[in-house]
């Protein structure tokens, strides 16, 4: 009895463990070993290929440039209600002055201008113009401070006043020409409470001089905006009477007289630079594009834009991309269609000829497949020209007159002919491998049962070849929809694809966000088709050559 219980217990492996656990462990090990073999390649592909694609998709929604370049303005604008039709308050203009001033010193204002120009034409020149003139606003105060006392003219005086004693001592000991890094600026204690704005501006200035310009901060004259900040601090009733450090006398003198200074009316000053600053649309654009992430590029990619109440269509004459997407789809369909039309008979004859002849003819299909894409494109460029081989032959045969040669290149015809030729092997090869598996006796059986040629083909042979057509079509369509080189070279202006527009935005117009968004949409279409291909054919069954 007890023997039987022991035997009905878990079966044991040679080492005494339960067999089930032992097998599980072996399976786990096997899985792990397979994964270890795959891991290097998987990591390689993830880093060199998947990460770039993810980065591109991230770029299509990323919009940090606006809030990074105009931090104060965008913070102020968050509370502004653009619907009232009123301009933002003067404080926002002052914030804008500070942001543009710093951006100009860092040479970032033109980049922001081009970014916002994608959304509202004219902003680019507005920012460039403002960048040039914004310095004048600060100089109003700088001149008055300097007229008041020569003390304010020298950068040394400023650095001694603003910097802590320790830092000033370290600076004095530091050798300008040595390779040792400059002592990092440290503000005088209490300065930030006494003159908050001035300290903030001076810190920005110090950071720029020390880290970007790499100049000696102790000797550098501060930006004009530091004077504006000092004026603002003094106007806000800063209490400088308790201060005893360097420049205390001059500071007290300035406090006493600052009330009589000529002051800058920021909205008016900006109006002086360009009247567009009083245009509410400019402010709305800045406000709409303040968030760090935006759907703006994607909306742009489908001819829409962000309006006050959500997305709206762009005006008719600015619509471009939907048409281009549709054209790309239609031309890819035409190319796929002509590939089916030309590929089906060839695949059929290859599958039905005796092996020796079929192999010979297969070379005619494989040779173009192996020949460089550029060779084939240049061959078509040469053949399709107005003075090219095809037109010459047609003229010689008298089919067309010498003065009315056919325009076969730099239009849609050129793209369709060349791409059909280039992609035809991708249709023939999958069709061939499917047709090879259809027994020819089926057709004979159908005919012997009384089917006509057509019925036998259409009801018996064709349905069996449909998987091949599906595989070939999806492959050709996927390849066609993303083609760049051939349309670029033989497509002219009417035969180009969405890829050409993406390349244009990357290398010429530098609107990378829009390029990324257009690429994202194209990628989504292709991945959808890829998924369909996987379902129909299975990626494992992709065959190359024969």
């Amino acid at each position: 009895m007890s023997d039987a219980t022991e035997q009905s217990g878990p079966m044991l492996a040679a080492d005494g463990r339960p067999l089930k656990a032992s097998l599980n462990r072996a399976l786990r090990r096997q899985k792990l070993r397979a994964l270890m073999l795959i891991a290097p390649l998987l990591i390689f592909v993830l880093v060199t290929f998947i990460a770039p694609i993810a980065d591109m998709l991230f770029r299509s929604i990323e919009n940090q440039i606006v809030s990074d370049t105009l931090p104060r303005t965008t913070a102020d604008l968050a509370d502004w209600d653009s619907e009232t039709g009123e301009l933002p308050p003067p404080e926002t203009f002052e914030a804008l002055y500070k942001d543009i001033f710093i951006a100009t010193e860092r040479k970032l204002h033109t980049r922001l201008g081009s970014r916002l120009n994608y959304e509202l034409t004219g902003v680019s020149s507005l920012f460039r113009k403002s960048g040039r003139k914004v310095e004048d606003m600060g100089e109003v105060y700088q001149d008055q401070f300097e007229d008041l006392n020569d003390f304010w003219k020298k950068g040394e005086n400023w650095s001694q006043m603003m910097g802590s004693d320790d830092w000033n001592a370290a600076m004095a000991a530091w050798d300008d020409r040595s390779d040792t890094p400059q002592p990092v600026f440290e503000p005088r204690s209490g300065m930030a409470q006494m003159l908050p704005e001035t300290t903030e501006m001076y810190l920005t200035f110090a950071d720029f001089v020390q880290n970007e310009d790499e100049d000696n901060l102790a000797k550098e004259d501060p930006w004009a905006i530091v004077y504006s900040a000092l004026y603002t601090d003094l106007g806000n009733g800063a209490d400088v009477s308790g201060y005893t450090g360097p420049g205390s006398r001059e500071l007290q003198e300035a406090e006493a007289t600052a009330g009589e200074f000529e002051f800058v009316d920021y909205p008016a000053a900006f109006e002086d630079i360009d009247e567009d600053w009083l245009d509410i649309e400019v402010w709305q654009t800045i406000q709409i594009y303040s968030p760090e992430f935006t759907s703006g590029y994607f909306l742009n990619a489908i001819d829409m834009k962000k309006g006050l109440d959500g997305a709206e269509m762009r005006p008719e004459n600015e619509q471009l991309y939907i048409k281009l997407f549709i054209r790309t789809l239609i031309m890819s369909l035409v190319i796929t269609g002509s590939c089916i039309l030309l590929g089906y008979p060839v695949a059929w004859i290859l599958a039905n000829l005796p092996a020796r002849t079929a192999n010979l003819l297969m070379i005619l299909v494989l040779l173009p497949f192996w020949t460089s894409l550029l060779v084939r494109t240049s061959a078509w460029k040469v053949m399709l020209q107005q003075q090219g081989v095809i037109n010459d032959t047609l003229v010689w045969l008298g089919v067309v007159a010498d003065d009315s040669r056919l325009a076969l290149i730099n239009n849609q015809t050129g793209t369709i002919i060349a791409m059909t030729h280039i992609l035809l092997p991708f249709m023939i090869l999958p069709l061939y491998s499917v047709m090879k598996t259809i027994p020819p006796s089926y057709l004979r059986a159908a005919k012997s049962l009384g089917a006509t040629n057509w019925t036998a083909f259409w009801r018996v042979y064709f349905p069996q070849s449909v998987p091949g057509i599906g595989a070939g079509s999806i492959l050709v369509f996927i390849l066609a929809i993303g083609y760049y080189i051939t349309p670029e070279l033989v497509g002219g202006t009417t035969g180009t694809f969405i890829s050409n527009r993406i390349a244009y935005h990357i290398s010429s117009s530098l609107n990378w966000g829009l390029a990324a968004a257009l690429g994202g949409i194209l990628l989504a279409v292709v991945l959808g088709l890829y998924w369909a291909y996987d379902r129909i054919v299975g990626i494992d069954n992709v065959k190359l050559g024969g």
Partner: protein, 392 residues
């Protein structure tokens, strides 16, 4: 293939009109080229009908008859339009001589099933002519480029000298330009540096992973396969854009390393596909036998597994090589002027200053592709033969 149907001679009323119809088509082209289409059609039909009748009913001897017609037509063509027309005439003459006897003797029926109706026979041959035309369409661009690359002029079409077969119309100056011009030589050097490095990377990683993927139990096999194949599926312009953005961020844009990594990624799917296909026929008991006899995994891999899957690895490597060697979109964005490759130079050549040197380069590349294609085909047949899958 043995003859299926006994053949018999056909009546004059069948083949003479058929040959006449063919003659009319040929005559139409000749006539148009000479200025009168109608005259060409009528003349072609009459001449060829007469020729067919004379050949089959009066001369009767096939070989001399066909030669005679070919020579006659060649002379006529030469008189009309010089050497090129003479050659075309000879081709026409040879064809019609063959065509007349082919129809007269009923040879066209020999290899077809005896029960086919005349309509089915006609369709059979029409279908072959259509397929032939498509194959001509496939191969013509490659064929046309070769003679054009020997053009003595800087034109992209056949000059009258070339058509007359005048040696003065031909020269190898475009080839000389390719071998002496520093732009082209620099581009060639870059291609030769980048492609093997990229191939090496994708083959070594790809083969390991393919072996891993063909094990019996691989978790997430489908997902991993989808990721590894994706460089082949994602449009090149998107890969190029993504790599441009990302490689600029990490400082690889405009470096050899960047281009090599990018090309290796693009070549990986081809290696995976070909090597997994070879591994399908691999007998895993061989590795177990090797292990059983005391070989460690590394020895087993190099001495047992590798020699057997080598053909697949080599053809995968050739695919990866040609991918990198032909690739232009990604290098256009990821590379800088210092990494200009041969396809890039061709691309700028085609887009900006069109120079016939491109045709010389194209011819050289076609010859390289023929070489690669031969190697891959031989390897494929060898591995199929080894596996006993096909008798060829």
């Amino acid at each position: 293939m043995a003859a299926l149907t006994p053949i018999s001679r056909k009546p004059v009323s069948f083949y003479v009109p058929t040959v006449a119809a063919g003659g009319a088509v040929a005559g139409m082209f000749v006539g148009t080229a000479q200025g009168s289409t109608l005259l060409g059609i009528v003349g072609g039909a009459l001449i060829m009908a007469a020729a067919a009748y004379v050949l089959t009913q009066i001369i009767k001897a096939e070989t001399p008859g066909r030669w005679g017609l070919a020579i006659l037509c060649a002379v006529a063509g030469f008189a009309l339009g010089g050497l090129p027309a003479g050659l075309i005439g000879a081709a026409f003459g040879w064809f019609f001589g063959w065509f007349s006897f082919w129809l007269y003797e009923g040879r066209y029926r020999a290899y077809l099933a005896p029960y086919l109706t005349p309509g089915q026979v006609l369709w059979h041959y029409t279908f072959r002519v259509i397929c032939g035309a498509i194959l001509v369409f496939l191969i013509t661009p490659i064929i046309v480029v070769m003679p054009l690359s020997f053009n003595a002029q800087d034109f992209f079409t056949f000059t009258p000298e070339m058509l007359r077969f005048d040696p003065a119309g031909y020269s190898i100056k475009h080839y000389e330009d390719f071998f002496t011009n520093s732009d082209w030589q620099g581009a060639l050097a870059n291609s030769v540096k980048i492609a093997p490095a990229a191939t090496l990377l994708s083959v070594s990683f790809g083969t390991l992973a393919a072996i891993g993927l063909s094990q019996a139990h691989v978790p997430f096999r489908r997902a991993i396969m989808a990721i590894l194949i994706s460089p082949m599926i994602v449009p090149l312009i998107i890969s190029a854009a993504g790599m441009y953005f990302f490689y600029s961020r990490i400082g690889l844009q405009g470096t050899y390393l960047g281009v090599v990594l990018a090309h290796a990624a693009l070549g990986i799917p081809f290696v995976i596909i070909t090597v997994t296909a070879t591994l399908v026929g691999f007998d895993n008991s061989l590795t177990r036998a090797a292990a059983n006899m005391g070989a460690n995994p590394v020895t087993t891999f190099f001495r047992v597994q590798m020699p057997l899957i080598l053909p697949g690895v080599i053809s995968g490597g050739l695919f990866a090589f040609i991918t990198s060697f032909d690739e232009v979109v990604v290098v256009l964005f990821v590379g800088s002027a210092g990494q200009k490759t041969l396809p890039w130079q061709m691309f700028t050549g085609l887009r900006e200053q069109i120079s016939p040197t491109i045709l010389a380069v194209a011819t050289i590349l076609v010859i390289i592709s023929i070489g690669l294609l031969t190697v891959v085909e031989l390897l494929r047949r060898r591995s199929e033969r080894l596996r006993g899958m096909s008798p060829g």
